[in-house]
Structure formats: structure tokens, C-alpha cells
Amino acid sequence: ESNIREQPETADGVILAQAQEKMLKHETEVPEEDEATEELVPNVPQLAEYFEGADIGLGREESFRIFLALKKLTEDQPLKTVSFWGKVFGLEGNYLIAEAEFREGEEPQPVEEEGGDELNGEDNEEALDEEEQDPRDKLPKNKYRPPPIIPAEEYGSGVNKKVYFVCDEPGKPWVMLPHATPQQLVVARQIRKLFTGRLDAAVVSYPPFPGTEAELLRAQIARISAGTHVSPLGLYTFDEMEDDDDEEARDKYVLADDFEGKPLSELLVPDLSGWVHHGQYILPQGRCKWINPGIKGDEDEDQEDDEEEEEEEEIEAEEGAPLLTPLQNDEDVDGHPAWSVRLTNTAHTAYAAVCISSNRWPGAHAFAVNTTFANVYIGWGTKYSSEPFSPALPPMVQQEYGLEDIFESNDPTRQEEEDFEAMEAQDDERDMGSEDDDEE
């Protein structure tokens, strides 16, 4: 260690401070009462206080900066609702995530990502190429049909009910994540990855993940929201005015007018009967709302080939837990309920709140007291498993072509060849002999 004191590098700190300075404000007036508008940004510091009572959170200063950053997001984007979804840790950097909904008609059209969604298109091109071939060169036809692409849910429904923005530090610009596709969700369920903190980082996995870290993050957010967004029973209810269509699973909920808060004693029971899921369950196909992959519409030009297959595969609709299903029905983890329940303010329970933490997605928490509640996720973005991870096995080796047209035989041995040649020679001699007989 030299005696020369190194000038502290303030470059990074200064740059961050410059970004954060834009968020700071100091108002000395309050709007008149009739001017007051519906409050868009939730009182993040106060919600953080409740979580802190259960040793959950990011500290008061970061919570406050997140609050300011959310405020800035509402100034830059036309949002209808916004909330702090949580923080996902990465190896080199972390992600702060905001969950939002755009105002009616204001949602932007996301830029189409190049990549894996075009598999079917390429196959179609191949099919076209095939037809341009010389009919005389009848090459074996590739009978492989990739599974039909399940279309992604539209913004506003199912997995994509909300949109997500990320940034790595409060004050840095918010980046909107793309909508989640069923393919991404299906693969995400099969892989286990840590994030680096760079949205454009490649995701090297098997099965190959159709996207970069941004898409993987979005998929994990979708899974975590579906699995761990919970609220006290009675806070949300189904909209009575909507048609009660029994076939369609109810997928919308609204705030109940008459909710007065659940007593702490009911929120505290270990069987979790006081809580319900308001995050909608994702079906194995990667959507919340089942769509029959057999119904193709007019995209597929090989419809004739599939007629036979339609009759063969009667695809059964996937079903999942309905919306607002109670947490009691969650599968146990290691023989215990899927959520651990804690009381805050144990020194004086009159001012306590109840906080539950997911054991299936460590890092997902929710608290409730009176009519206040919130969800948050703070963690590495991976699911819990007591079993070591086993990556998916590659599929079976494909059959190259049907065997029924081909038969194999052994190559003749040299002896057999000699025998054959000998027979041939004898036959030739006999034939020549008969021809001689005819001429006398």
C-alpha cells in the first residue's frame, strides 16, 4: 500500500447522482381539496414500512428512491395504474421492476422481436421450396410438423394483463419489457438460470430459450405474479355485472366496495384460509386462457395433411385453478403449507400486520392489515426445489424415415457370391444347351 492516497473514483457515483437528481422535488404547496386527483403512485415508503416489520424490504432510502422513480415513470408514460413489483438480483447488476397498466388506448405497439417465433414460417418456406422441385426427383418428404405455435395473449388479458418496466437503479431510465409468449413460459419452466443484470445477455440453455435475458426476466415475472400475487379474502371480487359464462373462466376481478379489512386472527391461521390468489394460474401451454392449438385458422397451408391428424388428436383443454382461489389449496412444500405466516410488531400486536412469505418462490411476500395490503418480490428470480435440478433430456432420436418401405438384407458373403456365380454359369450353360437342341 503506497502512501499516496488515491483520489476516490467518484465517476460512477457522480453519474448515478446526476441521474437521481432529476427525480428530486421540493414542493411547498398542496392542491386545494377539489383539485385533488386520484392518487396514481402508491405510497411506497409506507408500504415498505409494513414489510420492514417482518424484516422484508430494501431499506428506507432505496424505497424512497423507488417511490420517486415510479413517480417519474408516471410522468413519462400514460399509465392508469402503477406499482412496485419488486427487485430481482443479478450477478453483475440488479433489476427494479414496476408493474403498470396503460390508460385506455395508450398502450404502445411493441417492436416485433426477430427470432424463434418464426419457426413455422421457415417451415412453410421449405414447403414452398419443395413444391418448386422437379416432380421427378421425389425426395423423401419431411413429415415433421412442429407443434403449433400457441399465440401469445394480448395485452390486457391473462399473462399479459399488465406491462412491466425495469431499470437497474432508481433514477436510471425505465425500459419496458416485451409481452410474454407461451413459448417463453414453457421453456422458462424447464430451465434454471441466474440473471446477469444485462437485459441483452444471451440465455444459454437446453431447451433453447427463445429470447435474451429480457424475455427470460419477463417470463419469470409472469410465473411469479401468477403464483404469488395474493390478497386477503374479500378484498377483490368478481364483477357482478359481467355475464356469468360458466364455460369461460372468470378472469377479471374488481375491488369489493364493502371490504372492511380482515381481522388479523383470520389472516394469521397457518392454513392460509384468509388469503386468495388474484394472480391467474398459467396453464401448461403457457397461457392463462386455454386456446385449442388444433384450430389453426388460415395460416397453415398444409391443412390437408392435418385433416387426418385432427381426428386422431382430440386435445383436451387444460384447466387450472380458478381466479381468486384460496391459498389453502396450494400444494405443500416439504410437508408444510406453501406460505409461512409471520406477525409484525410482536411487541404490541394491537398495531401489528400479518405478512406471508411464499416457500415455493422464496422472496415473494405479501402483507395485509385492515384495508391495506401489498405484494412484493425480492430475490434471485428462481423457484424453490428440494430436488437437485435435472435439465430436460434431449428428445428421442428421430426416425429418419419409415422402415416399412425398406427391407434390409445382408451383403452376400464371398462364398455365396461364388455359389451364385456358379449357378448363373450353370444356367447360362443350360440355356445355351437348349438353344443348341432346338437347331437339330
Partner: protein, 275 residues
């Protein structure tokens, strides 16, 4: 983190999801003072928290001059503390086989299988099934985490010519540049990887400072996440092998410490998880 530095340490790690409610801080600052006094320990640290399914274990550690000789204590409420006795290495090995969550009940019994050499003429190894209490499992996991994740910056401890290890009074912290390099951090444990270095490698090291295992020798290579936080004034190292183990160091200051808040489970899938 040292009890005296509790609020500063918590301030440094808060960004990583490690917070303590005011109620717990107040309880710790009272109960750990009494514990330190009762046990006549020079240093008292808040080691962290192991989350169980029905309850959480708060862990404290105390030691005198020798940072390698530590006494562990656990509490369910930060008020009453119980000594956690060290466990035999055989039990530690058994505990490593447990991959389910801690329940929160110290008397819970786990069934473990361990290999034991039967003392018979045939010298067979026999699989023996024993039970392990959660309390012993806790002791084992604390030991494992300390071995894997108890970090000190290079230069904080010195080895005197008399082979005595002491805290350096002139350590004024790693510089900004140095704080980002993993070779400047060492394990505070009996050296393991150091012994496996060749004489040529050892010749380049400073015997007064490099007498502990460097984190750079940990396998796999990317098992530590280093980040600058708090406007580049704090260096934070997080273990990916034991998620929840966090080390913090105030850059260019003598302040450093570590804490663990997590489920007490080792991440066995690490190889798959890093690209």
C-alpha cells in the same frame, strides 16, 4: 456484522433485501449486550437469520481475540438466546445431505443416512440411518456457511512474524479499484486452497497478508457476485453457492462485515444456473 456497527452494516446491505425491523434492532441491541456480558466475549456479532417454515432462527456469534474461535447462539425472538454447540464433522457431513427447508422447530428430527465403516473383519462400509435434530443441523449449516462465505478484505488481518493473526490497526480499506477485484478478498477460515498452491505461486504472495485462502480460488469461478453499491461507495459480495450470504465493505474505509439471511440451503444447481 459487529454489534457496534449494526445500523451501519444494515444500511450497507439493505439494498440486497436484508433489513431488520426497528423492533428487532431494539431487541438485539439490548439482548446481545447482555449476552456479551454474560459470556464475557470481547466481540459480539449479529450473524444473520436462517428462515424456517414456521419460525426463523436469529443467529449471533461472539469471539475474543481469535476470529477463528467463535461461539454461536440462536434465538427465535431476539430476546432469549441459547448456545449452539459445535457439532462433529461426521454430523456436518450428514447435514449436508439434507435439502429440505428448516422447519422452525429446533427439536425436529431428520432422518439421515451416513456411511460408517463397520469395525468388522470384512471392513465393509455400512449405511447407517440416524436421526439429526434441527438444532444440530443448524450448527452444521452455520459452520458450512462460515467456511464458504465468511469473507475479509485483504489487509484487514495480518500475520505477525510470530505467526499470530491479528486485526490490522492501519487497515484503511480497499481502494475503489481494488475493491472490484475478487483476489482482494479472502476466506476467514483455516486455509485449504492455499495449501494446494505450488511454491512458485506462493513466492508471489506476501506472507503477512496472504495467509488465508483467496476468493479467487473458489470453484466454480463465478460463484461470487461483486457489485459496487450505494453510489459506488460500498463493495458488496454475494455468494451464489449459499444465496443469502452477503459481505460488505465501505470503500476506502476500515468498515467491513458479513451477514447471512436465507433458507440455509446450499445451491447445488449452480453449474446450470450460470451461463
Amino acid at each position: 456484522m459487529d454489534l457496534q456497527q449494526l445500523s451501519l452494516g444494515l444500511d450497507y446491505v439493505a439494498s440486497n433485501g436484508i433489513v431488520l425491523s426497528t423492533e428487532k434492532r431494539v431487541a438485539l441491541q439490548t439482548s446481545l449486550v447482555l449476552l456479551q456480558h454474560a459470556e464475557k466475549l470481547e466481540h459480539m456479532t449479529y450473524w444473520g437469520k436462517i428462515q424456517g417454515l414456521t419460525a426463523d432462527y436469529y443467529i449471533a456469534q461472539g469471539y475474543n481475540q481469535d476470529p477463528f474461535q467463535r461461539k454461536n447462539f440462536m434465538s427465535l425472538d431476539c430476546i432469549k438466546w441459547a448456545h449452539v454447540a459445535d457439532v462433529h464433522p461426521v454430523l456436518i457431513a450428514s447435514a449436508q445431505g439434507l435439502t429440505t427447508r428448516f422447519t422452525g422447530n429446533p427439536s425436529h428430527e431428520y432422518t439421515v443416512a451416513s456411511l460408517r465403516k463397520e469395525e468388522t473383519k470384512s471392513d465393509n462400509t455400512v449405511i447407517v440411518t440416524t436421526t439429526l435434530s434441527e438444532e444440530k443441523r443448524l450448527a452444521a449449516v452455520i459452520h458450512l456457511i462460515d467456511q464458504a462465505a465468511r469473507v475479509v478484505p485483504r489487509g484487514a488481518y495480518r500475520k505477525t512474524p510470530g505467526d499470530k493473526i491479528e486485526k490490522s490497526h492501519t487497515f484503511s480499506g480497499l481502494s475503489f479499484q481494488d475493491a472490484g477485484k475478487i483476489d482482494n478478498y479472502m476466506h476467514c477460515r483455516e486455509p485449504e486452497t492455499l495449501k494446494m498452491k505450488t511454491n512458485l505461486q506462493l513466492a508471489k504472495l506476501d506472507p503477512a497478508l496472504d495467509f488465508l485462502d483467496s476468493l479467487a480460488d473458489d470453484i466454480p469461478k463465478r460463484c461470487w457476485s461483486i457489485q459496487y453499491q450505494k453510489g459506488a461507495t460500498v463493495a458488496v459480495l454475494r455468494s451464489v453457492v449459499w444465496p443469502g450470504a452477503v459481505f460488505y465493505h465501505g470503500i476506502s474505509s476500515p468498515i467491513f462485515g458479513h451477514v447471512y439471511v436465507g433458507t440455509g440451503l446450499k445451491n447445488l444447481d449452480l453449474i446450470f444456473m450460470i451461463s
